[in-house]
Amino acid sequence: MSAETAALTDRPGHLAGRFANWNVAIIALTVLVLIVAAASVDNFGTSQNFGFLVLDLLPIALVALPMTLVIVTGEIDLSVASTLGLSSALMGYLWNANQPIETIIPVCLLLGAVLGAVNGFFVTVLGLPSLAVTIGTLALYRGLAFVVLGDSAVADFPALYTDWVTGTIGGTSIPNVLIIVVILAIVFGVVLHATPVGRAVFAVGASEQAARFAGVRPGRLKFWLYVVSGLVAGLAGVLWTLRYSSARADNGAGLELAVVAAVLLGGVSIFGGKGALPGVIAGVVLLASLQNALRLSDVSNEALNVVTGVLLIASVLAPNLANAVRTAVQRRRHRTEPTSGSPSRKDLS
């Protein structure tokens, strides 16, 4: 984004600037979809379906939190789903090896953090592009997961744990796991929007050079973001395994795309520097409830994929389109305003 358009977007009160506030738009759209679906789709509004819907979107929501910060700095972490899978595979392996679950869970979280640190090392110390690094570790971690557990599935985790993960709070339909996600969402929201760390994240995303002059150390910041991303993916692996009572190397395959999709739909710029967590949460809810509602209306998978795809392209296109229109309008104004008194050759001489 050029400096000119950036300045325009930030100008308060500018009509196009307000229109470009995708964050507000996506939240409104999500609320609209929820209302329409509840009113028109049979069984969508039931409390049981609400519980199912929340359980389905939780892993995406969880992983999307650190992903938002990573993408705002202008990087990406595509290895999250593989980290989830490896964490799940290790969990199954250790459970088979008769380790206590109380040990396994922290070890799996630690594994996630270490895998994140590996990404962080390649990206920040060796300075490699994060897209390439994390595509590489996407394959590597998934491969390791199959080395650890092969094609087999490990079940029979303690009922105390699996019941808690699939269970709901009291007599409601609100899943217990929602508590974890809400707490983390608040933590990430506060860090991103109300602390120096958050400001540094935005600064690095807008301009790494400028951020460095302002005293931010982009390398260190990014390294830790990758560690946190891995840690949360490891946690997602643990919760996933307990939810399905099934530790498998292929758990969560393809989840990284759903996460990146939700983050972009939530208004985070893939080029970094722009985005907000409430929009991302709305993006996750929007994608999940659309899928849920369309499935309940017996829409085929293919149509479902088409709808999701169109929505994503639109979400990336809309802000850029708004920008382009704004730039064009502005340029014309620049061109027309000074022409009245435009300097001619004669004046210059």
């Binding site: 199912f52 110390v125 303690p158």
Partner: protein
């Protein structure tokens, strides 16, 4: 790059490590062995009501099929048979399913079916345990759950339609291989993945059969894996024939593998020298049977699996059976079936296909 792992970076990292080690050191805790004793007494949800074999078959039952994944030719035939049966019993047929065969993607479909208040869910489980909590939720809501093709854990379904017994398939594979090899010589197996449960159990039976005196002249030289991928199976078949010049028979107990191996042999100079057999779909194998590459192969009828699942589900929902051993029910054109141990209903022995009968089958 200004970044390096400073002391300030290393401290929190090692703190995390120490913390997890400390938790490990606490010892005790819940382990697999300590929970194994609790897990044995898993309750079976809804077998309280007694079966009434004379209860009329209910009309208008909503029967939903949830295969491992959609758009798979084998699955299409299975659920096609189901659709016919649901039509016969005047029910409402529905087909849903994921595009990928991953363990957990079926769960949201089960949840959707619960919301839609189906009467019967016929499911081929991608993972026996991942689907369990949802299936039990479905059963709590009064839905009867029938698994086919690939079973879920026994505690979360009412009945399982087994295409054939493992023993029956293993025996029939060895019988065909022995006939084609003329009783002696080298044979090889081209399987799916090294961890495919059903393939591996058939191969185990084959090994036991081959160890018997009657088959001692048959020598199993290699088990290759084509990963149920056409290209990989093709290359593996090629590799087998090059590595073992005296190979007489390739036994491929997977529809993808047998078709790929037949395609290779039919277009190479091994045609007529090496026999292919195993489990295949008649429509995929017809040309190779007609051109003489394949003399005989076997399979159960996939359409009948889906067909039987619908009747079993309807019999469950109508109260004719509860899924207990020894109960009997009628399954349309297939006749009467008896529920076996732990709710298993066996379709029957596999059908052998040869040039003489292959044109009678269209699937």
């Amino acid at each position: 790059m200004t970044f390096r792992l400073s002391r300030r970076t290393a401290v929190p990292l090692s703190a995390v490590a120490v913390l997890s080690l400390a938790l490990t050191a606490c010892g005790g805790g819940t382990t697999k062995e300590s929970t194994a004793s609790d897990a044995t007494a898993a309750p079976s949800a809804s077998t309280s009501a007694a079966a009434d074999p004379n209860a009329p078959l209910k009309e208008g039952l909503k029967i939903a099929y949830l295969p491992k994944q959609l758009n798979n030719p084998y699955t299409d035939v299975e659920v096609g048979g189901g659709k016919v049966a649901v039509g016969e019993i005047k029910g409402e047929y529905k087909l849903v399913g994921p595009n990928d065969a991953s363990a957990s993607s079926q769960v949201s479909y089960i949840n959707t079916l619960i919301q839609q208040q189906q009467d019967v869910i016929a499911i081929a489980a991608n993972d026996p345990n991942a689907v369990c909590p949802s299936l039990n939720q479905a059963r709590k809501a009064g839905i009867k759950v029938v698994t086919f093709d690939s079973d879920a854990a026994k505690t979360c379904r009412d009945a399982f339609i087994n295409q054939a017994t493992t023993q029956g398939i293993g025996e029939s594979l060895v019988k065909m291989a022995s006939e084609l090899a003329g009783g002696s010589g080298e044979i090889a197996v081209l399987s799916a993945t090294p961890n495919a449960t059903n393939q591996n159990s058939w191969i185990e039976v084959m090994k036991t059969e081959l160890a018997k005196p009657a088959n001692q002249k048959l020598k199993l030289v290699k088990i290759a894996y084509g990963n149920d991928d056409d290209q990989k199976s093709f290359t593996e078949a090629q590799g087998l024939l090059q590595t073992y010049p005296n190979l007489k028979v390739i036994v491929s107990p997977t529809t993808v593998g047998i078709a790929a191996a037949s395609r290779y042999v039919s277009s190479s100079n091994y045609k007529g020298k090496v026999a292919i057999t195993g489990l295949g779909l008649p429509n995929q194998m017809r040309q190779f049977v007609k051109d003489g590459t394949v003399k005989k192969f076997a399979l159960w009828s996939p359409a009948d699996i889906g067909y039987l699942a619908a009747y079993a589900g309807a019999a469950l929902k109508s109260g004719q059976i509860t899924g207990a051993q020894g109960e009997k029910f009628k399954a349309g054109k297939l006749g009467e079936y008896t529920v076996g141990a732990s709710g298993e209903i066996v379709l029957g022995p596999p059908t052998e296909f040869t040039a003489a009968n292959i044109d009678q089958f269209d699937f």
